[in-house]
């Protein structure tokens, strides 16, 4: 056994350059290390199990665990359980959602806002991605993309605050409008659906831009040229060639932006008003203020996550069908 190991170790060290031979050579022949290697690599099966154990355990307990626990708590009547009280199973938390307008109204508002804002983000970023991918040289592409990345490294709260300063009554937009003589009194942009939407688009634009850019960048320029040779005008080329072939990028960008938009909490709190309460604020209320009702909060969060996933699944299905239909 040890002869074997030594032979193998000598072989290992022989393969290495002279400068680092001592260190790795010593590791390779070090007895505890040899035992470890023999233990781990005794069979391909064992090697695989040792490699797989930690990742599988991690994703089950850390990635899936919180979601399962949230679902479980949403089906109980009290959490955290007070000492001496029996916890029992109930659907009441879900029924509560339908019982009151102040619960389901923000829910539908959130879905509507998220859909509209996803669409706005798409319209806003598509031309930008198109320009970068098709009209800019390779070298400049990376630089111009990097330029757009910089603001997106800045955090959610800081960017939300920047929007507050931009849109406030004494903000830059109102100052410019007044200076141009377009208005006399400032327009109250803040605490409306507009300010909130502007903030959220500002936060999510990059998640749309990057998938669109990579889809457009993969598209060979020759396709458009071929269509042009066959007599297609600019609009027809875009509608019949570019758009159908970038549906995949559109689909993944929209899915990502929609899911992210439904989850914002601080931005609606800071930029929105009473008429724009979103579901995230409703959910948070169960964990913070006097109405400390974790199971209800958990149930509402489950409703929202399930709905968001369902909607994105339907959307992806539709996009897939559209793609299939176009290639026929």
């Amino acid at each position: 056994m040890s002869n074997d190991a030594d032979a193998q170790a000598r072989q290992t060290t022989g393969a290495q350059t002279a400068t680092d031979r001592p260190f790795w050579g010593r590791v390779a022949v070090w007895r505890p290390y040899r035992m470890l290697v023999d233990l781990v690599t005794a069979s391909p099966r064992r090697q695989f199990l040792i490699l797989a154990a930690l990742p599988v355990l991690w994703v089950l307990t850390q990635h899936l665990g919180p979601m399962v626990q949230m679902l479980r708590v949403s089906l109980t009547d009290a959490y955290p359980v007070a000492p001496g009280v029996e916890q029992s199973f109930t659907f009441d938390n879900y029924l509560r959602f339908f019982g009151d307008r102040i619960f389901w109204q923000p829910f539908f508002r959130t879905l509507m806002f998220a859909s509209v804002l996803t669409f706005c983000t798409l319209i806003l970023t598509y031309p930008v991605a198109y320009f970068l991918a098709r009209h800019v040289s390779r070298k400049n592409q990376m630089l111009m993309l990097l330029l757009l990345l910089i603001p997106f490294w800045v955090g959610e709260i800081v960017r939300t605050y920047a929007i507050m300063i931009l849109l406030g009554n004494t903000g830059a937009v109102n100052l410019v409008l007044k200076w141009l003589g377009l208005i006399e009194r400032p327009i109250p942009f803040m605490y409306t659906g507009f300010s909130m939407g502007m903030g959220i688009v500002y936060l999510t634009a990059l998640y749309m831009l990057l998938p669109l850019y990579s889809a457009l960048e993969k598209l060979p320029k020759s396709y458009g040229e071929a269509a042009a040779d066959l007599g297609a005008g600019a609009w027809t080329r875009f509608r019949r060639v570019t758009l159908p072939l970038t549906l995949e990028g559109i689909s993944s960008g929209c899915t990502l932006v929609f899911l992210i938009s439904t989850g914002f909490y601080a931005t609606p709190v800071l930029l929105g008003g009473p008429s724009t309460t979103v579901f995230a604020e409703t959910i948070a209320g169960f964990f913070h203020v006097a109405g400390d009702a974790w199971p209800t909060g958990a149930a509402f969060a489950t409703i929202m996550f399930a709905t968001a996933l369902l909607l994105t699944a339907v959307f992806q299905r539709l996009m897939h069908a559209l793609r299939k239909g176009d290639t026929k």
């Binding site: 470890l36 781990v40 605050y161």
Partner: protein, 263 residues
């Protein structure tokens, strides 16, 4: 494509650049305003807000707290994420698709839902809100990004290099440490910086899992709720400069590393 179209698209691009930069520039400018009142126009300028925050122990300790959390959570994410990537890339086994789906799950859960799910889970394990809970939540949330980036890099590693090392007698562990790991370094470093920034900027998880000590975004949020002041602009600008500088540096650094590793 006609020339007119091209010019139009260029205008759209630069308008978009203005859209993403102007709000931040205005916010930075406002931090130098010599008045407690936030708003334009700015008539006189001062550095007092900056000297104020750098002599404010609350702000400084919050900054240190945020950085500690970012570093600790990144270390965990990088080890676990790389491990998952090595397991998933180029291997076929029963349940691989399920492990992959679970790996990316935390990246797809909307912020508020992820935050309260972590809150409930931490409570279930008896973990009190505070630094440990935040580090854990950030680490879990960032694992998918590390795993995806490292998997992408790993898929371009020529199999022949590993085979050559094994033929020359390297055991799987040494082959991993001396061939695979050095090849992955650019991806691992890039992912680490990304995790650092995600953790440093994160609000919703830090807010719901935090104890009495705020992280920097939570501090800014709390101050904002009690009213705007140029002091907040100064704090936000410090956070902005830190993240932007780290981000730009990382982008250049990982690109150079990748070039060197490929050469």
């Amino acid at each position: 494509m006609t020339r007119g179209n091209r010019v139009l698209l260029a205008c759209v691009y630069w308008a978009f650049v203005l859209y993403v930069f102007v709000p931040l520039l205005l916010m930075i400018l406002m931090g130098f305003k010599d008045s407690k009142f936030i708003g334009f126009p700015i008539r006189s300028w001062t550095l007092d807000w900056y000297t104020g925050i750098f002599s404010n122990t609350e702000v400084l300790s919050t900054l240190a707290y945020s950085i500690t959390i970012a570093v600790a959570s990144t270390l965990i994410s990088v080890v676990i994420g790389t491990w998952i990537a090595v397991l998933l890339e180029g291997r076929r086994f029963l349940g691989r698709a399920a492990v992959f789906a679970l790996t990316v799950l935390p990246a797809l859960v909307p912020g508020i839902i992820s935050a309260i799910a972590f809150r409930i889970y931490a409570r279930w394990w008896g973990i009190e809100p505070g630094m440990g809970a935040i580090i854990w939540a950030h680490a879990v949330h960032n694992v998918p990004f590390v795993a995806l980036v490292v998997m992408a890099r790993l898929s371009t590693l020529p199999k022949s290099q590993i085979e050559a090392a094994r033929d020359l007698g390297a055991d799987p562990i040494i082959a991993f440490l001396r061939i695979t790991l050095p090849y992955l370094v650019p991806a691992i470093l890039g992912a680490s910086i990304f995790c650092l920034l995600l953790s440093f900027d994160d609000f919703v998880r830090s807010f719901f899992l935090g104890g009495y000590d705020p992280t920097l975004p939570v501090l800014i949020f709390a101050k904002l709720r009690s009213g705007m002041s140029p002091e907040i602009n100064a704090i936000a600008t410090v956070a902005l400069v830190l993240t932007a500088v780290v981000g730009i540096w990382a982008e250049r650094f990982t690109r150079r590393l990748k070039k060197e590793a490929d050469a």
